[in-house]
């Protein structure tokens, strides 16, 4: 690396990254049904023994897949999410009162995270009007139509899984593993990326970068997925 590349580099280590994730941290995660959840960071959080996490993300994965592993291990105290159906452990913890679950419709949740990342206060949507989703929300009339005010979400730390990262933190994702990753990348004070490949500055075509490096604080190498996918397990039995 030349002097400029060094000055702009965010390459770090798992150990360094885990310093930002502690008991009670408000933690956003990328991924959808486990796909795009960062395996090395999840494993690191488990190993470090962090507990009482406040998670924000699309879903609770599967009991032995992705972010679901933190739930299964009892490390999560609260979650704002859209779906826990694929992880029965989350449902059991919720019914026992061990896990506080706040549901947001999926598109609304994605948009709330983006709003946080974009420095907005919230947005108006008619999604969920006339249903339980209304509860506790301001209703706003604009141009003669009624909307719910959905508030922006931010977090202390975001953990994401990228395909390629350059040393400045410019990111690309792989296929459907993109999902919530670019959104949470923008919405946290500290964004930690594990990347399957870390490449020198100038390697990524500026046209295909999905997350600009300005959003990224630390880039660490990914050890890859260390779980069996739910559909693999099903076939195995």
């Amino acid at each position: 690396m030349n002097e400029r590349e060094k000055a702009l580099s965010k390459v770090s280590t798992l150990e360094e990254a885990l310093k930002y994730i502690n008991d009670g941290t408000v933690l956003m995660f990328g991924g959808f049904g486990g796909i795009g959840n960062p395996p090395t960071l999840v494993e690191g959080i488990l190993q470090k023994g962090v507990k009482n996490l406040f998670l924000i993300g699309n879903d609770t994965g599967f009991p032995r897949v992705g972010i679901g592993r933190l739930v299964t291990a009892g490390r999560v105290k609260k979650i704002i999410t859209s779906h826990i159906g694929s992880n029965p452990v989350a449902g059991e913890q919720m019914h026992r009162g061990e896990l506080d679950v706040e549901f947001s419709p999926q598109g609304t949740l994605a948009e709330r995270i983006r709003a946080g990342g974009m420095g907005l206060g919230g947005f108006l949507t008619d999604v969920g009007i006339g249903t339980m989703v209304e509860e506790g929300k301001q209703k706003i009339v604009s141009l003669g139509k009624e909307y719910l005010l959905e508030t922006a979400l931010t977090a202390e730390v975001a953990i994401i899984h990228a395909d390629r990262a350059d040393t400045f933190g410019n990111l690309t994702y792989i296929r459907s593993a993109r999902n919530f990753n670019p959104l949470v990348a923008m919405a946290a004070d500290i964004t930690i990326v594990e990347a399957d490949e870390i490449v020198p500055l100038g390697t990524l075509d500026p046209e295909v970068i999905v997350t600009p490096g300005v959003y990224v604080d630390l880039v660490i190498p990914s050890g890859g997925v260390n779980w069996k996918w739910a559909w693999e397990e099903k076939k195995g039995t």
Partner: protein
């Protein structure tokens, strides 16, 4: 899921006959997911998924699954030539903006008026709404593809839903292992009955009132 493999696939293949060339289509979790494997060869639709794909195809052959190419239910799919990837805000932007011609969803309960309940079993299971509210509220056409009866044998098609609603008056067609039922201004109209049943069987398994026209098709 309560139904045998054959019945689930019967529902999916019947639902696939509702696809029309040019449609942008979203498939919910469960039986609806199977519809992607039953697209008639002369029909050209584009499947969309909430996790950020426009343009996916049927289930890959065993051994050719790609863990990073899955639908919103986390199951492996294949890619179509028109495909693009994007984040989930864009996926739901398409949905909210009304660009989906059709969504096929599962249901816990459906009412005579087309109300849909598919995310809470009070006191039992609260899986969360996922993207169901957006889809049921915003797609131009909403079809429910489901078992006719709940796992405990109770009817799912009711005069009024007893579970918390996903949306009001959004379902236009109900396809089950027993029947195809249209939601109309006048009420539920029995359009088709599965080969092994008679209209009377459907009436018995349905709490809602059914209008039975003189001619009912078989499927």
């Amino acid at each position: 899921m309560g139904l045998g493999r054959e019945k689930r696939h019967l529902v999916a293949s019947r639902a696939a006959r509702e696809l029309k060339t040019g449609m942008i289509v979203n498939l919910g979790i469960g039986i609806p997911t199977l519809v992607a494997d039953y697209v008639p060869p002369d029909i050209h639709v584009v499947f969309q998924a909430e996790n950020g794909i426009l343009g996916y195809g049927p289930t890959p052959r065993e051994g050719e699954e790609d863990p990073f190419l899955c639908n919103a239910g986390g199951l492996p799919v294949t890619l179509s030539k028109e495909a693009s990837y994007f984040d989930s805000t864009v996926a739901f932007g398409m949905i909210r903006r009304g660009l989906l011609d059709l969504t096929i969803l599962g249901a816990l309960q459906v009412s005579e008026e087309g109300d849909l309940a598919n995310w809470i079993v009070p006191g039992k299971r609260v899986p969360g709404m996922g993207g169901a509210i957006e889809l049921a509220q915003k797609a131009r056409r909403v079809i429910v593809a489901t078992e006719h009866l709940a796992r405990d044998g109770r009817p799912k098609i009711l005069r009024a839903c007893t579970f918390p609603l996903t949306t009001r008056k959004s379902v236009q067609l109900i396809i089950t292992d027993m029947a195809v039922i249209q939601v109309t201004e006048q009420g539920l109209v029995l359009q088709e009955v599965a080969k092994e049943y008679e209209p009377g069987d459907v009436v018995q398994a349905t709490e809602a009132r059914l209008i039975i026209p003189p001619h009912v098709e078989r499927f």
